[in-house]
């Protein structure tokens, strides 16, 4: 019976793994090494700006070890969601590191890159044909917002990766990609059932996160066959238990039993998790329900403005006991000043007082929004249509607030403890996620552009 051994280098390419663990995992027998490099967890900035989330040197170290082990063992290396957001600039950033490594180490191999950035015009045409539809919940997407968005990516399934492998790629660097697809592509190509390969992919994609006690980020390995898979951490200090593996299927999923992927849904409600040693778990029994239509998820980011912030402490109990009134009256004064001096209506920018010590973490859903401590941390947060406008609004707010009066104190008071000089900083562009949609495809490979290079 055909078996496939999958090695996950780590949960995120930037977070790393121990060299000796990867070497051991490959020595134990491996058919490929995979690694996820991206997520939307850190917000829309990376997709919107095109900037990768480094660190570059850490990413390079991890890629060096993965490619070295892959080439030595003659097995493919598959990286998904390159550069964090998986757009063209993120992909190019990663490819540049791979080329640099090949030059420095005098490696020669076939590199495939799969670009998943979707031009706005193409998405718009598909949207107008009714082939782009919202998930729930989703931001509203319309013709104008598609045209104006900064960048869209489509999340590829297993098929474009399989095509690249069939072309003989030894290293595959994919743009935005389902985490699961990184690990399911090769096994499915080799005849492993999707119910096994997709479930294994979900457990593998976070690296060593599915162990009982993760002391540090590291590798994970699984052996897949027709009936199920065995998961065992290659690091001898780690162990998987049925509970740790089953619990990992909950992580970051809205639904604990249904894992929606391009091409179908994995139903894990019937899955069984059995210990087969102190450190290994056998997983079987998940079901794969094919989708009626093949869809890929679309992610998009749009520019929302430019941010400038000031950080300040407030320690005077007389201000703290009337903080809401203080900030409400301050807001009225500064809105008038901004209108007078910058000719800006209050609807042309956003001004937020983020009060740490009251509702800084939870905002409007905070059940205890009143100040209870002896001080608060205040972030004055301005978002405006340009950085220069945000930077002009900011001193009006903080300087007015610094001396804004309260009834109990006569004479000029200074209300804010600024830890820094200057008190604030320009934060650059702010983006927002503008799509949570799926795009129906006739060909799962069509919108993804694969390029082969002989290094």
């Amino acid at each position: 019976m055909k078996k496939i051994k999958a090695v996950a280098a780590t949960g995120n390419l930037s977070s790393g793994f121990r060299e000796e663990t990867l070497v051991r995992a490959v020595q134990n027998g491996a058919d490929f090494i995979g690694c996820d490099a991206g997520t939307t967890d850190s917000g829309p900035y990376y997709l919107g700006s095109g900037n990768p989330r480094g660190p570059r040197e850490g990413t390079k170290r991890n890629l060096r070890l993965m490619i070295r082990e892959g080439l030595n063992a003659g097995i493919p290396v598959i990286v998904g969601s390159a550069g964090h957001a998986g757009g063209t600039p993120h992909l190019n950033w990663t490819l540049e590191i791979v080329r640099e490594l090949a030059r420095e180490n005098e490696w020669h191999f076939k590199l495939a890159s799969i670009d998943s950035e979707i031009p706005n015009e193409l998405l718009l045409a598909e949207f107008l044909k009714g082939r782009v539809t919202p998930l729930h919940p989703a931001p509203e997407l319309e013709e104008a917002s598609i045209r104006q968005a900064e960048r869209f990516v489509a999340m590829m399934g297993i098929e474009p990766i399989q095509s690249a492998l069939k072309l003989g790629a030894q290293v595959v660097v994919a743009g935005r990609c389902s985490d699961v697809a990184i690990y399911a592509a090769l096994p499915v190509m080799e005849g492993i059932p999707k119910c096994v390969a997709f479930h294994a992919g979900k457990i593998l994609e976070c690296g060593s996160a599915a162990v009982a006690q993760r002391y540090y980020p590291d590798c994970m390995a699984a052996e897949l066959d027709q009936d199920g898979f065995t998961i065992e951490p290659p690091n001898p200090d780690f162990r998987c238990t049925p509970q740790s593996v089953a619990a990992h299927t909950l992580y970051e999923n809205a639904d604990p039993y249904r894992l929606v992927e391009s091409g179908g849904t994995v139903d894990t409600s019937t899955a069984q998790y059995e210990p087969i040693s102190e450190r290994a778990v056998r997983v079987s029994g998940a079901q794969f329900i094919p989708a009626e239509k093949y869809t890929v998820k679309i992610e998009g980011a749009a520019l929302a403005g430019y941010r400038s912030i000031v950080v300040a402490g407030i320690r005077d109990p007389l201000i703290l006991r009337q903080l809401d009134e203080f900030l409400t009256s301050l807001r009225a004064v500064v809105e008038r000043k901004i209108e007078d001096s910058l000719k800006l209506n209050r609807r042309a920018y956003t001004l937020q007082f983020r009060i740490y010590g009251a509702n800084g973490s939870l905002g409007r859903v905070e059940p205890c929004p009143q100040v209870e401590g002896h001080e608060v941390g205040l972030i004055i947060d301005v978002v405006a249509p340009s950085q220069s406008v945000a930077a002009d609004i900011l001193p009006i707010v903080w300087h007015t607030g610094l001396h804004h009066p309260i009834p109990e104190q006569e004479g000029l008071i200074s209300n804010f403890a600024f830890p820094f000089s200057p008190p604030g900083a320009d934060m650059g562009p702010v983006y927002r996620f503008c799509a949570n949609h799926v795009w129906q495809l006739d060909d799962p490979c069509k919108p993804f552009r694969t390029t082969l290079e002989n290094l």
Binding site: A138, A246, V365, V383, F433
Partner: protein, 104 residues
Amino acid sequence: MPELWQFTKLIRSKNAGPFELTFDVMFKDEDSFRKVMTSGSLTADLVSQIYRVDRKQVRFFVIESLFTVKISIPRPVFSGDVDDTDVYGGQFHGPLVRLQVNAE
């Protein structure tokens, strides 16, 4: 009255994508799990009240085999929007930790 954290080994919140939040409440053992679940103190209604989300939008899963409750809701603000407060969604579980549990 005892508080929820005294019965659990893990209470966490996290993004499930940029548009949803998910909460995992894992109990220490079967006894703790049963006590809290029979107390009626941890319910979808309560989550709907705390997070001001329509009851119909609260997905509430009881996973007996893991002595775990999983709850998913739409995000009050999408991750990273101008008025978001918690990009990773990692602190939204705060109000659940000291939830009063009507059990011995």
